[in-house]
Symmetry: D3
Subunit: 168 residues, 6 copies
């Protein structure tokens, strides 16, 4: 049983993440998409919303599960008996940060190996941050996220936009 | 009529920006220096101050106009019939961010092309953030920004410095 | 009349180069695709073959001309009254080399500006060197170069492959 | 008398910093480890704690002194008659930021030279930020910081963790 | 049965390669270390020597086999029913080249996935080229390659060194 | 007595190298500019020419000596009792190569420290290779190298150019 953990904050999941998840689902018996639960860091979507949206986005993959973790990623990986941490690599700046994290995680637990794969080149430019920015400015995000996320983003920013008008 | 948009936050404009603007003014019939209006992000200078300072700094270029935009940059470029978005490239870290933005903008509107040019190598180290930091610490910024900006920075930090002394 | 020079060795031209050429053709009144004539450096294709193949590949663009140059690029650009040298940027390693060349060319002639643009992200991985290597190993290069180049590459390597068998 | 300044925020000092300090202590007659005093930026440790912890960590080096500075680094370097600013280089992202700072400092005072050295490769992945994050999550940081810092980090996060439980 | 191909020229294998091989042997049921057979490119060691040295270096791993391939790597991977191509990543420059190769291989065969892992940080600086250069200059390479390779390198350069003295 | 070695091939020395040498001469009691003697690698200038040109270029610095070395750089540094190897850093690509060399040299001899400094930003684009290429193409290299080198380059290429005409 080969089990891999794909950690992230997924605020929200993009087509780039989903491309990595699909590739991982073909490589490993089980893929745990693990949302980091960080109380100090609030996102656009609540933790519960992110779990629900991610579940909807990956439901067609029977060997992919959406989970969560608190504390150290290596402790979580060990607790679920995963041998591998998966990460997508898109750009040089990714590379240095990921290198640092992978080496640090190896120091903390040498039994868990970080493996990297590359998303489709058309997703190289994608990031959750950029997608949120475009959605906030009213741009069309249909090509960047699955439908359920696009709907959720539109709903989120529609609510936000109307909020100020209520103020006066 | 070839019209280019040079977007930024210009908080404040530096000699590096002005070098790009001068090169652009020689290349295009009209250059619109477009300040991004972002309510969520307050700068050292107010939006109105940045517009006024930028106008003063570029007044010797008859084909350069200072404008502003809200929303998506590509929508703005289209609305002013600009075929080109201009960006300066200084370093590798610039490159990756700019690459990401240019590819995303191309997805959003394939008719607007992002073109890059390089400022003079002596401006490679310059950034609005660094200039503000040096001004805040009382350093001489005369070599990094035009005179009108240097005066405005000194005035801004003189006001800030005296403020705490009034408090007690 | 805005004229741009797009220099290279084009041994052979790839879909990545053609993407840059098409974008340039929309931006400038005239684009001169200028093959560097370097006697010291022999390519897979002869200089004459490269000119002929490039002409075939760009024939649908009325404002694109295939030319050649010897000596310094800035001298050539000046001699044909081009205000701009165009270069495609794909990756960080490109960036540093191109930065170096652009700054050096500016030192040699400050009137010619180097402008950069980005090819489609699906051509990020493409290079003449890689295409030749794949063709040499018998791989399918149909997705990487125009048809006329694919045929020429196959002919070139068919000739090369049969050559050794004739020797004894 | 060759005197070097090694500036930083040291919140807290890591084994990577100490490796640079030890190398510097062998190279220069006197090394001033200078903690930047920035009122606007609060760290995990107070300024006074950082001074005390750093003093404990470097006490075995007779030619290393822990100091502080406010204002511009080059002004401080000049005031203590240091000819050299020392910086550690670990990664490409370090490099660009450090390059920018070094060139800016040279503009501000051409008499002070920035010299770079590389920490041991096993400290490439280390940063104060990462160490704090791991300590916050309860991970073992014994391999990344000296004992006095490990104790201080544990005490700091023990205090922080118990704080919320006291609230209700 | 999960089978991975680890391709390279291994002229000669270093401790950095062996670190990747050991990590791979723990991850996959079978690891094929595949030496590229390139007639046009002669190395320090002949192809046959490289096969023999590599076999000696990996003999303690029962699920690692030393093989060879000609032609396209993806064709070889498919012919041996490997789902994965493995590559080590050490530095930013590696990253860009590897990214290019991985994307190109995906275009050629989308069923084979390239997975990356990171060697121990102490092997970041290692390369076959550097090891050969140091051995050529008489330096001690004992820390960089396994014993069998160290002996072979010494023998190779002893032979080369004595050669000129025989000439006159 | 603090002695630094500044190694290179200096084929030929450029203003960028001289900028590093001048900075080094202010930092160290003695600077040995050490030309690597590599029989396998022939340059544009012979080893003897490079020594002579470098001596002429640095003659105004009483504490700078031009020397040569064969074999490992760390062995040479130790033999001349230098505590430091000096290298200039210009760009990211420099950085990775230099990082690799510095770490390898540290493995070979941990007593010699590699220190890096940055040349003036206007020399960022300079390299011996580029200067030779421009000189070969008849460009003006007066801004890139000292006068003695400019004369030598012109003489070298004048000789080379006329050579073919003598052949028939």
């Amino acid at each position: 049983m080969r089990r891999a953990v794909y950690p992230g904050s997924f605020d929200p999941v993009t087509n780039g993440h989903l491309d990595v998840i699909e590739r991982a689902a073909r490589q490993y018996d089980e893929v745990l998409v693990a949302i980091a639960h960080n109380e100090a860091k609030t996102g656009l979507f609540t933790f519960e919303e992110r779990v629900a949206l991610l579940r909807e986005a990956v439901q067609q993959h029977p060997n992919v599960q959406v989970t969560q973790f608190q504390g150290l990623l290596v402790d979580y990986a060990r607790s679920v008996q995963a041998q591998v941490i998966l990460r997508g690599l898109r750009a040089v700046s990714d590379f240095e940060y990921e290198f640092q994290m992978a080496l640090m995680n190896r120091k903390l637990d040498s039994d868990v190996e970080t493996m990297f794969l590359m998303p489709k080149e058309e997703y190289t430019y994608l990031s959750s941050r950029l997608v949120k920015e475009i959605a906030r400015l009213g741009g069309d995000i249909g090509a960047f996220v699955p439908d359920c996320i696009a709907r959720a983003l539109r709903a989120k920013f529609a609510a936000t936009d109307s909020a100020p008008s209520r103020k006066p």
